[in-house]
């Protein structure tokens, strides 16, 4: 079943065109990896899908479960099951991590017609999910991301994902800045979420993460377009050859506007 269908997506940031015609189809149950050199538009794609106001869609359509995703506010997308793990999780001084997550979870549950969790049920859920990611309980009582190390911030993102149980998860360079132990933890957390009903898009610069989260499809983004798609072997090829060999292909593919 098609969960996400992107057609000819163009996105500008600060007036500058970044995405120049993305076409992508993601089915439920699949894990897609989006790779590409710095500045290729990987994170722009992730942020545009989450509804960031600085990312202006100038052309194209995005359909999520048959609905027009681009017409939805960021909170509507989240409530309908879209989750983005931030590349740079925001520090929010004074807002308790558990309090914030409970408010988010209950906003989503209410939207789904489920009862809100009370404090006891919520704490039980926290315990269950925090064990998986080896989240120190003190992290829950601290302010959101404030004073967290880079690795703690990324783990906290995946922890939130585990609690909120999205249908479509977009991980925006979740592996950057992680040591190998943290990377394995994060990968375990993501793998535990894999299911036939859920789709996951992994945006990454490095092949390494894909050793642990094995993708079904790998796409290479360059110059704001997907220039090549393939299976896991493509990621390994990129590891060997770098991104350089794709650049001329990107240039050649440009007039066709389709990868």
């Amino acid at each position: 079943m098609t969960m996400l269908e992107i057609h000819n997506l163009h996105v500008r940031v600060g007036g500058k065109p970044i995405l120049q015609g993305i076409d992508l189809c993601v089915n439920a149950g699949e894990v897609h990896a989006i790779m590409g050199p710095n500045g290729s538009g990987k994170s722009t794609l992730a942020r545009a899908l989450s509804g960031h106001p600085d990312y202006q869609v100038t052309e194209g359509e995005v359909s999520y479960e048959g609905r027009d995703l681009l017409a939805m506010d960021p909170e509507e997308r989240a409530r309908d099951g879209v989750f983005m793990a931030f590349q740079y999780p925001v520090e929010i001084p004074g807002v308790n991590n558990a309090y914030f997550l409970k408010a988010a979870l209950n906003a989503i549950r209410t939207h789904r017609g489920q009862e809100e969790l009370d404090a006891i049920e919520f704490m039980a859920l926290m315990r269950e999910k925090s064990t998986l990611l080896e989240i120190d309980p003190s992290m829950l009582t601290r302010s959101v991301n404030e004073g967290f190390s880079g690795g703690e911030k990324k783990r906290n993102e995946i922890f939130q994902m585990a609690v909120l149980e999205p249908k479509l998860a977009i991980l925006d360079e979740t592996d950057s800045g992680l040591d190998i132990d943290a990377l394995k933890l994060v990968a375990n957390g993501v793998n535990a979420m894999r299911s036939p009903e859920r789709a996951i898009i992994v945006v990454t610069h490095y092949q390494r993460l894909l050793d642990y989260i094995v993708p079904d499809v790998v796409h290479v983004l360059s110059g704001g377009r997907i220039v090549k798609s393939g299976d896991r072997a493509l990621a390994l090829e990129l590891e060997d050859k770098g991104y350089g060999w794709l650049e001329p292909e990107a240039a050649a593919a440009a007039p066709a506007a389709k990868a």
Partner: protein
């Protein structure tokens, strides 16, 4: 009242009102009180109302007070119901003294006091045992220091007197609630509070100022706090006046050796509000905390002036003021820290932050450090900013709507001050009040 140095239409009416008060009261008053009153009104007559040419009032025009005459408020209760007063007072527990229009209202006052502790209206203690207050009244709030304190002293009649004997520890808070209610005329009350905490005593005091929404009146309050050696005083001021009221409140704190004093000044109401705190650390080992939170919208103005005077060595002071401004609101913060030549090893920290929710809100903020000792630690910081757009997006991306996200961030901003409130029901009610008063996300305050 005979010697009038200056005459101006602004002050003449007050002088005439004061004359009438003196004539009515002089037969029953002790002479020291008559003298104190005279000093007050004479200084007011001399100085007149301050103007924006005075450095201390540079950003705060008190024209709304000076340009009209507020008649002395009547003692009458103006149809107040117990329910109304209860809702203002909140369920804080403990003892409660209520004054309406500056006069004691026994029917609204409740609770029992621990043995030895004295809380009464100032009027009754002046009538029954004036010697109990004579050593303190007007001593730390000098009648010639500032025009409004002088005016309050000139009209000194009633208010509250709290006396905690040495070594007495009181768990339950003592509430002093000042209600203004005079629907017919714009009137003024001059409540006076005297708190004397004996050596090694411990007490929490909540001073509340309220009035019916929409009413125009002027509250000119003066509080004197004497903190004995080793005493711990936790003071809360909740200013929730009518949004058309003028409120001038001046608190003078004097602490001796090892005294601990904390002030929590919460200001939500008033059209023109000025809070002065003058706190003197006059004994070694003292520790003062001044926290403040204000919420101001429309075309209202809230001005906080604090002075922490380190007169002796080895004292600490911590100050944190936070303001939330929207609409065309204005705020002023002036934080003066004086470190006298003797006051070595002083550790003073001042933080002042303002959150501007609209383009038209404005704050003037000024730290003022006057340091005359050489082995001290004094830091200050001021920050003025808007809600963090990245944080708002982060919260929305997790499913919170714009209003929830903004409320959560504003609540977090205020949390630094509210979380330090140690009276649980008070903290809860203030948090609720804060959230209910915040401008709606879609409203004019959202134009950033």
């Amino acid at each position: 009242m005979t010697r009038l140095v200056q005459s101006s239409p602004q002050t003449d009416a007050y002088l005439a009102d004061c004359d009438r008060l003196v004539t009515a009261r002089s037969a029953t008053e002790p002479s020291w009180l008559r003298n104190l009153r005279r000093k007050g009104i004479e200084h007011f007559a001399d100085a007149g109302f301050p103007t924006t040419r005075d450095e201390e009032w540079k950003f705060t025009s008190i024209a709304p007070i000076a340009d009209r005459h507020f008649a002395p408020a009547h003692d009458g209760q103006s149809g107040l119901t117990t329910d109304r007063v209860e809702s203002w007072a909140g369920a804080l527990g403990g003892y409660r003294l209520v004054l309406v229009n500056g006069a004691y209202a026994p029917q609204f006052s409740v609770g029992g006091l621990p043995a030895g502790v004295h809380v009464s209206s100032l009027r009754s203690i002046l009538a029954t045992n004036p010697a109990a207050v004579e050593p303190y009244l007007g001593r730390f709030a000098p009648p010639d220091r500032q025009a409004f304190t002088a005016l309050n002293t000139g009209f000194l009649q009633d208010g509250a007197f709290v006396w905690i004997p040495p070594g007495t520890i009181i768990d339950q808070p003592i509430s002093l609630l000042f209600v203004s209610a005079s629907p017919e005329t714009a009137s003024v009350s001059h409540p006076r509070v005297l708190i004397v905490a004996g050596d090694r005593s411990q007490v929490r005091i909540v001073e509340g100022y309220v009035g019916p929404p929409g009413q125009e009146y002027f509250t000119n309050a003066v509080t004197e706090v004497v903190v004995g050696s080793g005493a711990v005083v936790d003071h809360y001021k909740l200013q929730r006046e009518s949004q058309r009221a003028c409120h001038i409140g001046s608190m003078y704190v004097h602490g001796t050796r090892d005294s601990t004093f904390s002030s929590h000044s919460i200001a939500f109401g008033g059209a023109l509000v000025r809070n002065d705190i003058i706190a003197v650390l006059d004994g070694e080992g003292g520790d003062y905390t001044l926290n403040g939170l204000y919420l101001v919208d429309g075309r209202r103005l809230i001005d906080n002036h604090t002075t922490i005077d380190h007169a002796k060595p080895h004292c600490g002071s911590h100050e944190m003021y936070k303001g939330i401004l929207s609409g065309h609101a204005r705020a002023v913060f002036n934080g003066k820290i004086i470190v006298r030549p003797d006051a070595q090893k002083t550790d003073a920290k001042q933080t002042n932050k303002a959150l501007l929710l609209s383009d038209d809100a404005q704050i003037n903020t000024k730290p003022q450090l006057e340091i005359f000792a050489n082995d001290v630690k004094c830091t200050h910081g001021a920050a003025v900013g808007q809600l963090d757009e990245d944080a708002i997006f982060y919260l929305r991306a997790r499913g919170l709507d714009l209003q929830q996200a903004r409320d959560m961030l504003i609540h977090a901003f205020a949390g630094d001050v509210l979380n330090r409130i140690r009276i649980e029901p008070l903290r809860k009610s203030l948090e609720e009040h804060l959230l209910s008063e915040l401008p709606a996300a879609g409203g004019p305050a959202n134009q950033q």
